[in-house]
């Protein structure tokens, strides 16, 4: 297995089960081999880890998440989800594996012909692997919406919500089946600092409540900082700071389809690559 950079200085998870593994993955579009969207990407997400994926616009973050879900096909290399090779699986075979992954899409991707409640109920109704009796669905939808504090908006349509609320509904839809792995695509993009903080707090809360593994795409360093250094306190309902390396958070940086950095926050801050440094040396004023 080609693991180029072994993260060090992070709480050791190397014996934990692998939930998502990329092996030298390459993705090209329309046979354009000159500029692949993903180029030789390898990494391994183990149970209990949170991965922060940083990268400029167009560096391939969304493509990476979609490839992980089997929504885009890898043209080279192999992708493993829950130790199953999904690279060449048929759509029907993929449905059962995808049911174990929750995904937040960049633009929320709520179904705009359905109400908020119907959107959140959608995975419960349509994922065959989730066999939930009908009378349990309503409470599940309710509790998922309560988690994102939108229980009062059940009957609204997505077009009647603000961008931040839509993002929260999409999170509720992603977590309603309690998947062990969550993929968040740019959860804070285009939001004001306060709303962005609310969303990131939800992600931390979800991680600490159900002990889920997550891959979070973002271009804001402070999002990663929050995930790495804060923990949800179920008693106070607030985020409390934790000591150094208290959470299993690993940072990854992408540049033009390549993974150029993988390691802990300390390593990231010590990195002298000009591209990587740009992501770290952001104005910290609006940090949590």
């Amino acid at each position: 297995m080609a693991e180029k950079i072994q993260p060090t200085g992070v709480a050791d998870t190397s014996d934990a089960a692998s939930l998502l593994r990329f092996e030298n993955v390459r993705v090209t579009f329309d046979g354009d081999d000159e500029k692949p969207a993903l180029n030789g990407v390898s990494f391994n997400v183990r149970r209990g880890e949170t991965r922060i994926l940083l990268g400029a616009a167009g560096s391939g973050k969304t493509v990476l998440l979609k490839t992980a879900m089997g929504l885009e096909c890898a043209t080279g290399g192999r992708v493993f989800l829950f130790d199953e090779d999904v690279t060449h699986k048929s759509e029907r075979e993929l449905f059962d594996i995808r049911a174990k992954v929750g995904m937040l899409f960049q633009e929320s991707a709520l179904f705009d012909s359905m109400t908020v409640a119907q959107n959140v109920a959608y995975p419960l109704l349509n994922q065959k692997a989730v066999s939930m009796p009908r009378d349990k669905m309503e409470p599940a939808v309710r509790s998922s919406l309560r988690f994102v504090e939108l229980e009062g908006q059940m009957g609204k349509y997505p077009s009647e919500l603000s961008g931040g609320m839509r993002r929260r509904v999409a999170i509720a839809r992603a977590v309603v089946t309690n998947p062990p792995l969550l993929l968040y695509d740019s959860p804070t993009a285009g939001l004001d600092p306060i709303t962005a903080h609310t969303i990131m707090a939800l992600i931390v809360k979800e991680r600490d409540k159900d002990n889920t593994t997550a891959l979070v795409v973002t271009h804001r360093y402070q999002d990663g900082n929050l995930v790495a250094n804060f923990r949800y306190n179920p008693n106070s309902g607030h985020l409390d700071p934790v000591g150094p390396d208290g959470t299993k958070t690993i940072f990854m940086v992408m540049k033009e389809g390549k993974l150029v950095f993988e390691g802990s926050q300390t390593e990231l801050e010590a990195n002298r690559d000009p591209y990587v440094m740009k992501f770290v040396k952001q104005p910290q004023s609006e940090a949590a």
Partner: protein, 256 residues
């Protein structure tokens, strides 16, 4: 030269794959009955007004022109016969299909297209549904049921329009008009008049879905997909009309 053909050939191939998938899903679970009913309502009920209006005026125009021609031979009494044959065999199916394509191929393409560019199609796949099963097959079934019904409506309203014109312009008594209308129709005409819309329905729905699903490039792309869907569906309807007409002619010649 071969490279120039690659694009169109690939498109036709993709379209055939989509059509094959949609047809196969008719016999495969899960079935989304709610979506079929919803689409039947959108396509059927939504198109009734335009179908009635075009039907009425096309029938009226035909009676007007036919009557004038027949006047020279003193045969205005047979206006109904011509109106009914042309409406049922040709004009009704084609006009209805083109009108429904204008309204629904575009509607389908823009709806599915916006779902594509806002990642809703990806979300569907991520959440355990096959977009072809959930979106394409219900639209295909709904159109295949509704288009023949709309064509019957169009034919009938067209005959009424023709009857009114025949009475007003050429003083053909209503009773005579309707009896010539009924007598003119053979079973093969009715068969042809219902086979055509059934076949066209696939052009209307599948072309709309095809362009919708391959939409790229944001809202602008949705606009492009919509236009392409209407144009392609309409052209395809005329081409199919020729070939289906040809086949029926051949069958009728065989019978003789």
């Amino acid at each position: 030269m071969l490279d120039a053909l690659k694009g169109p050939v690939k498109s036709v191939q993709d379209f055939c794959v989509l059509s094959g998938g949609a047809l196969r899903n008719v016999f495969r679970k899960p079935h989304y009955a709610d979506d079929i009913l919803l689409q039947m309502e959108t396509i059927g009920v939504g198109s009734v007004p335009i179908v009635m209006i075009t039907g009425f005026f096309s029938g009226a125009v035909m009676a007007m022109q036919m009557g004038r021609g027949l006047q020279d031979y003193g045969q205005t009494g047979r206006t109904g016969q011509f109106v009914s044959i042309i409406l049922v065999r040709e004009l009704g199916p084609v006009l209805t299909a083109v009108m429904v394509a204008g309204q629904n191929s575009s509607g389908i393409a823009s709806e599915i297209g916006s779902m594509e560019v806002t990642e809703q199609i990806d979300a569907m796949r991520a959440l355990g549904t096959d977009p072809v099963q959930k979106l394409v097959t219900p639209r295909m079934i709904a159109t295949a049921i509704m288009l023949p019904c709309l064509t019957i409506l169009d034919d009938f309203i067209g005959m009424i329009g023709g009857g009114i014109m025949a009475k007003v312009l050429f003083a053909v008594p209503g009773r005579q008009y309707w009896s010539t209308v009924w007598r003119a129709l053979a079973w093969s005409d009715v068969g042809q008049g219902l086979t055509k819309p059934f076949m066209y329905s696939f052009a209307v729905s599948l072309i709309g879905c095809y362009y919708g699903l391959r939409t790229t490039g944001g809202t602008q792309g949705v606009g492009r997909a919509t236009t392409q869907a209407v144009v392609t569906a309409s052209v395809l309807i005329f081409i199919m009309d020729f070939f289906i007409g040809r086949i029926f002619l051949w069958i009728s010649q065989l019978g003789q």
